[in-house]
């Protein structure tokens, strides 16, 4: 979320640093005017100091999210061709970071009315068709139109293909 750039848990660090600065100015017996002026300047400085890296990470996250949503949409098109009544789609994306593969798993509910309650099983295979990972996500509650990440994982083996299955715990209406 864009708003995370401006207020996040990381900003507590800048609050703490400003507090330390104020305590320092008070212990150093600076006059009231200096304490207020320097307090404000350091608060602004520490806020920007935290906001900049948070912004970089948040933009990265937003970009990754958008990529996963595109992947979901693509999978949905394919699923729809096979099964026209389908509403649920999953997607997996690999992000390279620090040499290992970070895997992000998303699910999307393409219905405009019904909430999905149930579980999803995802199987990942490598290029020799060997199963690398088999993950089951239980008790999923996905609102209509929601496209969200359900898990983050890592794999040392390159994933070539994946497939998924949804199991609804509710009777279809």
């Amino acid at each position: 979320m864009i708003s995370d750039i401006f207020i996040s848990k990381w900003h507590l660090i800048s609050v703490a640093c400003t507090l330390i600065a104020l305590i320092g100015l008070w212990l150093g017996k600076y006059d009231r005017k200096t304490i207020i002026k320097s307090g404000i300047i350091s608060a602004v400085f520490f806020y920007l100091w935290i906001t900049f890296p948070v912004a970089v990470y948040t933009f990265d996250d937003i970009r990754a999210h958008n990529r996963m949503v595109r992947e979901l949409d693509k999978n949905y098109e394919k699923d729809l061709a096979r099964e026209p009544r389908n509403i649920m789609t999953a997607a997996m994306g690999t992000f390279y970071d620090d040499g290992s593969d970070n895997i992000s798993i998303y699910v999307g509910n393409y219905s405009s009315k019904s909430t999905f309650r149930g579980s999803m099983k995802m199987t990942m295979v490598d290029k020799d068709n060997q199963v690398v990972k088999e993950l089951v996500f239980k008790d999923l509650v996905i609102e209509p139109g929601e496209k969200t990440r359900v898990a983050k994982t890592v794999s040392s083996v390159k994933i070539d293909k994946y497939n998924y299955q949804f199991f609804s715990t509710e009777q279809k209406k």
């Binding site: 640093c17 330390i20 600065a21 320092g24 350091s42």
Partner: protein, 265 residues
Amino acid sequence: MHLQPDLILEQRDPKMKPIFWILTFECLTIVLLIALALSGFPTYLALKYKGGAYFYFVFTALGLWLTWISIRLLHRYVWDNNHLNHYKLHQDRIEYIQYDKKKRESFEDTIYLGEIEQIVIGRYYALYYYAYKKFSLTEHHSLAHILPCLHIVYSKNGKRNVVEIPIYEQNDMDIWLNKLSELGTPYRVFVNLLTNMNKEQRLEALANHDYSFPYSNNTPFRQACQQLDIQMNQHVQELVQRKSSSANDSTIQTTSSSSERGSSL
């Protein structure tokens, strides 16, 4: 505030500039927090995993040591910033309080103008002065500055003493010199720094007129400064020449004496 109508100038050593103060305080506080975490972490591990982490208690020792160091440094910085040397020039006297930062003691004295024996314009070695002067980004920051100062030698109850008054504003020097000129004592300019010397050593150094020359400037101190630098350099060069020639003399003497001895042997 108590009003002092005869007060001409009040001068206090500067406080550290807030930006450097905050920087110092933040760094030391962060070190302190890390140290506390480091000393507590092995205990947390031991409690969580029910023993078996005795090796990690090395970190407790390290943490406690760091805690002690950072608390001591914090305390020292706070003390230094709150105990500032203070000088007051009155119509008839100089009052001052100076702090010994190592011993954490204060020394207070009043000098009546009649007690002054010698007034010497000198140079003062101000280490880390960049953290105390007006901050500017464009300026080059050197680790130490050389500032003008006044050495005032006075005698009280038959005991000689000397006080060093650093001058942070050149205009202040004019106020001091104008007032003290009433005494008729000729000013001298001392070429050496008297850093890391105790009072006795400074008195002895100032009494040696080899290292000083008379000050004869009627222009404001700000203008006199440049000329003073040239004069100081000249004086030092003359001094070096004189020393080297006298050293040559003494080497000739020693060689001649050794040759005499050699001949006698």
